[in-house]
């Protein structure tokens, strides 16, 4: 219980730090929202008036306080560019991104674990070379390149799947899946590669340990040794890595979603950045960082729960 309390306090402090960094970085951005809103009708006087109305002239710490206070009380403000309330917007886009992140994770794990095990078991033979080779190739190409190739083959070439857009799962689950497939596969490609390598290396590590030798000595079948004993122990680190990769994934979605015009958090953040839409950008960056941090925390706890050797310090 004490451990939990301590972690929660630490959590709150970290979230505070994240908010500070978010605010600092986004407010150093040159160019401003007023110009974006007024577009080619901008002129110095009108802009000054608009900035005043938008509260952009107040000292930074006042703006920060206003922002934090608002977030804590549930008022996340309105996107200056699109005049839509931010909280429901983010809720919607996060669901969208959540869909492809979840899909890519499942896909990646489903492919990586068998491939990694296969490589480990057949270490240094052609199977290993193939498996590891594929994995290496997977992490060597930029993920948006995979995206481009996928669009070429599956959308334009075969016409099986749409190359862009987003459909809400609540409204039309089938369409939602179809639109999410290609982005998820593109996202998952390099993730799968990472996880394959991770699976292979942890399997190798585990299989070299004493208790495996004991299992073999006891006469257990090789299949049982691999799957029931080795894999069980290797899974935890792999899952941990998968969870930790979430941070990297949330960066990748910016590129992938822009490529596929898939309107999720990545797309939204990039739009906010381009438009200098400060309230939206701050909220997006904060949310992404918070999600990554919370996931890491959850993974830590999960790892501790799964592996009795780790002490909850």
């Amino acid at each position: 219980m004490r451990y939990l309390g301590k972690r929660l306090a630490l959590l709150a402090f970290t979230l505070f730090l994240i908010s500070l960094i978010t605010f600092a970085v986004t407010n150093v951005l040159p160019g401003d929202v007023a110009t974006m809103i007024m577009g080619t009708q901008s002129n110095p006087e009108a802009l000054a008036g608009l900035r005043e109305r938008l509260g952009l002239n107040d000292p930074l710490w006042v703006q920060y306080g206003r922002w934090i206070g608002g977030m804590l009380s549930g008022d996340w403000g309105v996107s200056l560019r699109f005049k839509e309330p931010i909280a429901p917007l983010i809720a919607q886009k996060i669901t969208a991104s959540g869909l492809i992140v979840a899909m890519s994770l499942c896909l990646a794990l489903a492919l990586a674990i068998p491939l990694g095990v296969w490589s480990a078991v057949n270490r240094d033979r052609w199977q290993d070379a193939t498996g590891s080779g594929l994995a290496l190739a997977g992490i060597s190409l930029p993920d948006f390149f995979w995206g481009i190739v996928l669009i070429l083959i599956f959308a334009r070439g075969l016409g099986w799947l749409p190359s862009s857009g987003y459909a809400s799962p609540a409204e039309d689950f089938g369409a939602a899946l179809r639109h999410a497939t290609l982005p998820a596969v593109a996202l998952g490609a390099s993730l799968m590669a990472h996880l394959t390598r991770m699976t292979r290396s942890t399997m190798l590590e585990v299989m070299g340990q004493d208790f495996i030798r004991v299992c073999r000595a006891k006469g257990l079948s090789e299949g049982s040794v691999i799957l029931r004993h080795a894999l069980r122990n290797a899974i935890a680190p792999v899952l941990t890595v998968a969870g930790l990769q979430l941070g990297y994934l949330f960066g990748s979605i910016i590129v992938i979603e822009t490529l596929f015009n898939f309107t999720g958090m990545g797309w939204l953040t990039y739009q906010a950045l381009l438009n200098r839409d400060m309230p939206l950008l701050q909220a997006c960056v904060f949310v992404i960082a918070a999600v990554v941090m919370l996931t890491n925390l959850a993974v830590d706890l999960l790892y501790a729960a799964l592996d009795p050797r780790v002490e909850l310090a």
């Binding site: 970290t14 481009i148 990748s252 590129v255």
Partner: protein, 274 residues
């Protein structure tokens, strides 16, 4: 050393050597003008004897751009990683060596930065500074620094716990001396491995940044920019994407292989298995 020269290590070394060679020699041997020479009448020519890798949408020869692109990409990647080491190494060493409150505080800060996806950080920094080649280096370098700091810290912790280090400290030797003479040399190997792999990621990061318009500027022949420009013409001119894409893939592949081989060579458990 022998453990390093596995097939993987050799292939990695070969690939990396080839690309580094290209990066160094190309600017000396190829006239820069060839990469920007526009010939609208010869746009989107497929690969042939006349145009070894084909031409792009403005009629520029892709082969020269890919070759010189090696310099751009490697320059950015290596500089960015060097910068990240410059920032991350001291942080990590101080954190790991001194431990205690220093470690907790510094790592709290680093972990917070690590919550921001690397690409997002790099994007924002690039937007803040204004996109250009030097600023791309800064953006990627700063964004990679926390990650490197963490790794260095892990290594420094491990080394600081070694008996003879503890002995030296208890004997009152000055911290600076211990760090310089004992800690740093012992962590250099893993740092080099990490750096190798980071260079690979930096190349990918630059490609991503350029893809989003916040990396290198035209008409600089950078692989990332070339892939981005090829996007609209994929079905009519796929070679415009394939050439730079393969270049990135092979370079990154080589770097990953090299990094893997180095790591395997230094990892005692792996070595013991042979």
């Amino acid at each position: 050393m022998g453990a390093f020269l596995t097939p993987k290590g050799l292939l990695g070394l070969l690939l990396v050597g080839f690309f580094v060679g290209m990066a160094v020699l190309a600017p000396l041997l190829i006239d820069e003008g060839l990469t920007t020479k526009i010939d609208v009448l010869a746009r989107h020519q497929p690969p042939s004897l006349e145009h070894p890798m084909g031409t792009d949408q403005l009629g520029r020869e892709i082969v020269w751009r890919v070759l010189l692109g090696a310099s751009t990409s490697l320059l950015i990647a290596v500089s960015a990683v060097a910068l990240s080491i410059l920032i991350g190494l001291p942080l990590g060493v101080i954190s790991g060596y001194f431990g205690g409150w220093t470690d907790s505080a510094l790592m709290r800060l680093v972990d917070t930065f690590l919550s921001f996806p690397v690409l997002l950080l790099a994007l924002t920094i690039s937007a803040v500074l204004g996109p250009s080649l030097p600023n791309t280096i800064l953006a990627i370098g700063i964004a990679f620094a926390p990650y490197l700091a963490r790794i260095v810290r892990g290594e420094a912790l491990r080394v600081a716990a070694l008996p003879y280090i503890e002995a030296a400290r208890s004997q009152g030797a000055r911290h600076g001396r211990i760090i310089r003479r004992h800690v740093l040399p012992n962590i250099m190997a893993p740092v080099i491995v990490q750096a190798t792999i980071s260079v690979a990621f930096a190349i990918l990061a630059e490609a991503g940044l350029s893809f989003l318009g916040l990396g290198t500027q035209p008409p600089t022949p950078s692989w990332g920019l070339m892939i981005q420009a090829s996007r609209d013409y994929l079905d009519v001119a796929p070679w415009t994407a394939l050439a730079p894409g393969l270049a990135v893939a092979l370079t990154v592949l080589g770097l990953n292989m090299l990094g893997d081989a180095l790591r395997d060579a230094m990892d005692p458990t792996v070595a013991a298995e042979r």
